[in-house]
Symmetry: C2
Subunit: 159 residues, 2 copies
């Protein structure tokens, strides 16, 4: 189990690593990592925070990469579809994937104070969930687990 997002880390490293992984992933799977898609992923990677489609679009627009909603939605859909980003249902927003490659049904920890998002790849709750759902006969295609609360830092501040 790992969490990325809360706590200190060398974030510039974090960005370049993920961009390289994304490049590699697209090459291997013959996906077109076009300028808009690349830029959108960079924007999501810039912070461990979810960005809305229109927030992304705003930046794209300033940079001359497109100005209409479908531009942003298409790029975001591409990233989500290929596992490079996640949609946070709770926020109607998108965050870069923090664990490229690990097969996952991650849980998202959303701090309501600082907006930071952590991604938790927990085996235990996933297998418990699978077991409980299996007994109902439901066949799972997608899982969203989203927790809202306070991150460690904001918990202290609030106290």
């Amino acid at each position: 189990m790992t969490t990325i997002g809360f706590g200190q880390h060398d974030h510039s490293h974090c960005i370049t690593d993920m961009m390289q992984s994304a490049e590699a992933h697209c090459r291997e799977n013959q996906l077109r990592f076009t300028p808009v898609r690349r830029r959108v992923l960079e924007l999501l990677l810039a912070e461990h925070r979810a960005k809305g489609a229109y927030e992304v679009l705003q930046t794209l627009s300033e940079e001359g990469l497109g100005s209409q909603p479908p531009v942003a939605y298409r790029a975001l859909d591409f990233l989500v579809k290929h596992g490079l980003a996640h949609r946070i249902e709770r926020l109607n927003a998108y965050a870069a994937c923090a664990h490229l490659g690990t097969s996952h049904a991650p849980a998202f920890l959303i701090c309501r104070a600082c907006q930071l998002i952590a991604e938790l790849d927990g085996e235990d709750f996933n297998s418990a969930l699978d077991a409980e759902v299996a007994s109902t006969g439901f066949s799972i295609e997608r899982i969203a687990v989203e927790l809202v609360g306070l991150c460690p830092t904001c918990t202290e501040t609030a106290a």
Copy 2:
């Protein structure tokens, strides 16, 4: 663990039971179960399916109970706030609570074919999730677990 929503049951019973529980719950907590709020809960109870705010509003409007968005949102917010209904983030829609009273962080099983929704109160995955989150220092305030897939009936049909 219980699931309500998939499978046969006497649904009219299901509705009257829940309405009575809701009445009681409001009386006990000195909440005003006004006509609009009552009617909205009935609408949600009518099917084990999530309804959008505007779908609810459409009916309210036909019945002369209000025609502007805030009417529906206020009633829905009231029901959610007091545990009589749940918001399904994935669908931007609302479903009646199927387990009034059980303290819960339920999982929702959403059938993408027939739109039916089941509510799963799983102890095991909740405690596993709590344990895994605890180790991160994150303090949980709200949990949303939403699964999209096929219900038992639709799984068979698809096969």
